[in-house]
């Protein structure tokens, strides 16, 4: 905080602080601005807005989604922002027909609906909302044997193969968890499945996790998880307008050529429905790790029950309403700090996304009050209320694509939130912005403990690392935390609206929220994610709505008012150093694993270790692969470490305004230097070479993705190619840092 605080633009502080704090603050004290901002943040507003905005289904195309956009626009305007609605027209399928039946000795038809819950008035107002639905699943009418594939991740298919089974021509039933939803039907399709049922096992978010709603917060017997199964690890956004904004008149490809639409029908069901299907399965008993909390013996199936699945959707375009509000910067109007949260939910969307949306609105209101008091940010602030995030980051992606050149030229940072809960600050960020996050977190008070939200997060890590089964990685992080280290901040994968900014455009980004104590997860994407549920279990009293607004608002304020863009590069250099060691070790680990597996295959050890009365085969022989030459990356990392150290040291000293302006101009595109215009293998939309959602993790981040995924896939030429590209990207950053440092040192 110290350093960034000192660098705040002082020009407009005086009037503001006078007005907002009635003379209590020193006009030159940036803390006074933040204090005034904090004072402008209330929980009552958020509670009122949430109640109203979550009162009816608000998915894309619903009347209430549009009403919420108009309400948000009116509020922004009333708070003094230059606000508008930007409309896009996107492919957004909605269900025309859905049917799922168990065929066999004990036939059963899945309910596919969520009945109202006693004590939750909202849950009875589902008219116009979506039933059980997976957006961007394929149309189809299939009857086929049913087979259970656990979480449906690659390791599960490897286990299935060793059981002598496959999913070819079958309908898979998969449980939610362990990887992103959309990967499950995609992998099933790639393995030859003709249909996919996703269900919520009570072990994961139902009675096995805690008391079911309404007694407790967790998913009740008939609760189900909607969601998108668009192939977002290839590209999010409107499948008909890849890479360009889906404005009216934009060129569109035919539906048949869309690459990110699932090819097989898929449907989500509750555990109340799933129990019938799973109980009907024969075949081997499921491996231990595959068993959930239903009171049955889990079998893999492949024989026994068959299922009949019908999905037919309306594939018409629907309107998207992004609300965009601008507060022009006084000193550097062409440097933008962009802040966003989506507004659309699957049904009522109280927690996801409106709890984050209302915090964002609260920030905008408080910033508006500062501005009315005379303050003006040094840089331009842009607030965005995105539509259509749920179906595939539609609103943010189309807007980012529509405004790509301007954003790449002007955006300093993108700051994202989504659903919020009670608990601990959880942040992911580009490395250059991590110090900004750390310093802000040190200055926000946790409502439950009175400590800083940073101190709580650091305490949590250290306590968790005491557990006997704590991972070496957690222990290492705890040691750093114990030694006074910074707020632990994760890598940016996907799953919310920061993705197009950081991964497609190369704009440094932050994603943050509170959680771990609130219990909204049990009703995630269900019709029970209501105001009533959130007020009881998510963030009663909205204390963490206030904490979130104060944290993200602080990030906006500091990024907008810092003399010099609030970037730091030591974190990047340190992280990439560690990542190169990881991928180097990965090559060795894979080689050792291959040698061990192949040796045991040669000795027929798998046959000796197997129970011959059970179906079990040996694993496939593994490719040990060649050694990889990391010289280019090693050299680039060495150079980056030196350049980053020099720049950070220079930026810590006193800075003349003229130098700041020149350095900001040089560093405006610095995160873009980490992207490659050719993108990642097979998915050119993703251009960032340091962090991307994994092709086989979906939301989870992979660092050095071009290199790492090539190694994991044993594609050695590709790995060597991306070693070179990544080294070149790092060298480009080093060159900019050297240039900037030279200016600062003059």
């Amino acid at each position: 905080m110290k350093k960034l605080g000192m660098l705040m633009a002082g020009a407009c502080v005086f009037v503001l602080a006078q007005a907002a704090l009635a003379g209590e603050a020193s006009p030159s004290d940036p803390k006074a601005i933040e204090a005034a901002f904090d004072a402008g943040v209330s929980s009552q507003d958020q509670l009122d807005w949430l109640k109203q905005m979550a009162s009816a289904p608000n998915q894309v195309g619903s009347p209430h989604d549009k009403a919420n956009a108009e309400f948000t626009l009116a509020q922004f305007t009333a708070w003094g922002w230059d606000a508008r609605i930007e409309t896009f027209s996107v492919l957004y399928p909605t269900p025309l027909e859905e049917r799922l039946e168990l065929v066999g000795p004990a036939p059963f038809t899945a309910n596919l609906t969520e009945p109202p819950i006693a004590g939750d008035a909202t849950s009875a107002r589902q008219a116009g909302g979506l039933p059980a639905y997976l957006a961007f699943g394929g149309d189809g009418d299939v009857t086929a044997p049913l087979i259970y594939v656990n979480y449906g991740m690659p390791a599960d298919y490897a286990a299935l193969q060793r059981l002598g089974l496959d999913v070819k021509g079958k309908i898979v039933i998969v449980r939610y968890g362990a990887g992103w939803r959309g990967l499950k039907p995609k992998l099933a399709f790639e393995q030859g499945a003709v249909g996919c049922i996703l269900y919520s096992d009570p072990a994961d978010d139902g009675y096995g996790a805690g008391d079911a709603y309404p007694k407790g917060a967790f998913r009740p017997e008939r609760g189900l998880q909607r969601g998108s199964v668009m192939d977002m690890p290839v590209a999010p956004g409107d499948p008909l307008t890849p890479g360009v904004g889906a404005v009216e008149g934009a060129p569109r490809i035919p539906l048949s050529q869309a690459k990110t639409i699932l090819r097989i029908p898929a449907v989500p069901i509750s555990h109340g429905d799933a129990r019938h299907f799973l109980a009907g399965l024969a075949g081997p008993v499921a491996p231990k790790a595959w068993r959930g909390a239903l009171p049955i013996t889990y079998h893999v199936g492949g024989k026994g029950a068959s299922a009949h699945l019908v999905v037919r959707s309306d594939w018409s375009q629907k309107p998207l309403y992004d609300v965009i509000a601008v507060m022009k910067g006084a000193r550097a109007p062409d440097q933008w700090v962009v802040r966003g949260n989506h507004r659309d939910g699957w049904v009522f969307g109280a927690e996801d996304p409106l709890s984050g949306q209302t915090a964002l609105m609260e920030e905008a209101k408080a910033l508006g009050a500062l501005a009315k008091g005379g303050w003006r940010p040094a840089r331009t602030i842009v607030y965005a209320s995105w539509d259509g995030e749920e179906a595939g980051l539609l609103g943010s992606t189309e807007w980012a694509e529509a405004h790509a050149p301007e954003l790449q030229a002007k955006a300093v940072a993108y700051i994202n939130t989504d659903g919020n809960n009670r608990g601990f600050l959880d942040a992911q960020a580009s490395y250059s912005l991590r110090r900004l996050v750390d310093e802000a977190a040190a200055d926000v008070t946790d409502p439950e403990t009175g400590a800083s939200v940073r101190a709580r997060a650091l305490a949590q890590i250290q306590v968790e690392a005491l557990a006997p089964d704590a991972s070496p990685e957690l222990k290492a992080r705890a040691k750093i935390a114990a030694d006074g280290g910074a707020l632990p901040t994760g890598d940016l994968g996907s799953g919310s609206d920061y993705s197009p900014f950081v991964q497609h455009l190369g704009i440094a980004a932050i994603n943050l929220g509170f959680g771990d104590e609130g219990q909204s997860g049990g009703v995630y994407h269900s019709a029970y994610d209501t105001f009533e549920h959130y007020d009881r279990f998510g963030d009663p009293g909205f204390a963490y709505g206030v904490a979130l607004a104060r944290t993200s608002g602080r990030l906006v304020l500091r990024a907008a008012d810092a003399d010099l863009s609030p970037l730091q590069f030591g974190n990047l250099a340190a992280a990439v150093t560690a990542q190169v060691e990881e991928v180097r070790k990965l090559v060795t680990t894979q080689r050792e694993h291959a040698a061990a597996v192949n040796r045991l295959l040669d000795r027929k050890a798998f046959a000796l270790a197997a129970d011959p009365t059970l179906p079990s085969g040996p694993p496939d022989r593994e490719d040990a692969g060649p050694t990889l030459d990391f010289t280019l990356l090693d050299a680039a990392v060495l150079r980056l470490k030196k350049s980053a150290r020099a720049y950070d040291a220079a930026a810590a000293g006193p800075i003349r305004p003229a130098s700041a302006e020149r350095v900001d101009a040089i560093l405006q595109g610095v995160e873009q230097s980490l992207t490659d215009p050719r993108g990642l293998p097979g998915r050119p939309w993703y251009r960032h070479l340091i962090s991307a959602p994994g092709l086989l993790t979906g939301y989870g981040a992979k660092t050095l993705p071009g290199v790492r995924e090539a190694i994991e896939g044993r594609r050695w030429a590709e790995a060597a190619d991306y070693i070179g590209r990544t080294a070149a990207a790092l060298d480009a950053v080093s060159a900019k840092l050297d240039e900037a440092a030279a200016i600062l040192k003059r």
Copy 2:
């Protein structure tokens, strides 16, 4: 095998081999004797005997237990053994009254019985058998709040304390697993509980593990686990005759002075019964690791339901019938190889223990046939069919105590089996006998794969070590296995009849059996452990009954016929070296953990990391303790390594018969050198200083128990005391080895 085989006594081989193999074998080839033995082992015998012996309840005091003893005696006699029944009179409680009720809004009375199972005729013949019962639980009639304590192990009580709860004045409900049954009510009593309910969670051995009986092998809804809750980690055997054989007229202490009887009432129930009790609990949701597979949200309780528990037992003495059969040695009749398995079950006891008992009988029959063919063992062989093992190793302990001086003077080794199953050889042994086990395992063919049972066990370890979550210890063992290492052999804890021999008398012992593929575990100690169940799920066709008889019979043959006692000491030296490093590291680990916990307490990190809306307190401050001086042990280990190397080298050379005799005499008491007549702290019955059942593990072995448990309990003076005692014991072994080596080298 090679070496021991060469050392076999040749005197009687000729006649035997002629007779048994009709002239096929060379008269001087000990392999011919083993081949003849193998040929004498049949599965049909075992099947017939099992069917008969498991046809009625056969617990201590039942008519069928006596009938089985008489049947066994008759068989041994018919096979040419000098056999007799030795009778003891022991305290053996049986239930007079048992009642368990849920008190509260949804009252329920536990069934406490196991209904017959369709297709299992035996299960309908329970008349005269024990109902739900925990032998040596206390009498009592208590009504108290019910509280769930997971597995009831020390870590569970620590977690409970952090939830702000305790068990004082309450009845605990505990699930089976994670530690020996008898520890659970003992720890509950020590924590202040007034009653204890043990239940079988379906996650552990019911439908969560596999299909329930009769569809599959696993514990059905009403299946329950009987067992003993005698305080066996303090001492097994008749509680009224501690340390002496419970023969007629032996001095007996009054019941009130018996130290190993539980002080509170306890009862075992099925998950069908348990569900009602657990569903009635209120209070906090149970920690994640505490939740089983019942379709409920597990709560800890402490409020909500109360229970009413009544147990009243008949505390009279009952007769024990040990069948003892002797085949006198030709060369060294005063050197005994003792082989045993118990015969009593909880109900029908098909798998536990009769599957092992019938294998033992098969060995005795085959050895009898060899003897009828003219063969005579060099050393005396003693076969024992123990009674009353289930209630507390009664038959073996009383016999060992009654014959202690003779056994300590004569027994070379004790070889134990218990229930057997299909699968992999699993052995625990004194270090000096591990090479014997390894060599025998290399020469027994696995019936499923045709490889040696040793090769299969080694393959299993290497395959398991490939799992991503394999422990470093398993990986290390796999590496040894891959490099051609010996059969992995565990340390002797307790849970079967080897305990009095090795831990009380200091006689080197082996315990072995097959398992991992058979599925008898799901009906362990229930009325469904029947011939029908075993024949379907335990060892269909009794192929592993044959493999067990061939393995343990081979051990007996080789131990009885070896020129020199088959002892080797390099394994002991290597193991103790590693154990000293472990306990040294334990001191460091504990100190580091204490420092970490105490530092976090100082910083109030536990409060910051906790959800204030949930009950949770910080852990207790920990005692870091002083450094411990391991000098004495280090020196003793160094000496032992040298002495063991010298002895093993000398024993590998050619040996004159006169030297063999003198060395056998010297080494007769060598395992006893590892005992201390004062015993382990608080439990003088346990005298072995290298391996004992842990006071807080029950069956599981603790190595260097005097030192290790003192460190774990932060009793530093005691730790130092046992460092000295253990060092002295090792020095005594070294001295004997030096003496023996000197003779061999002459």
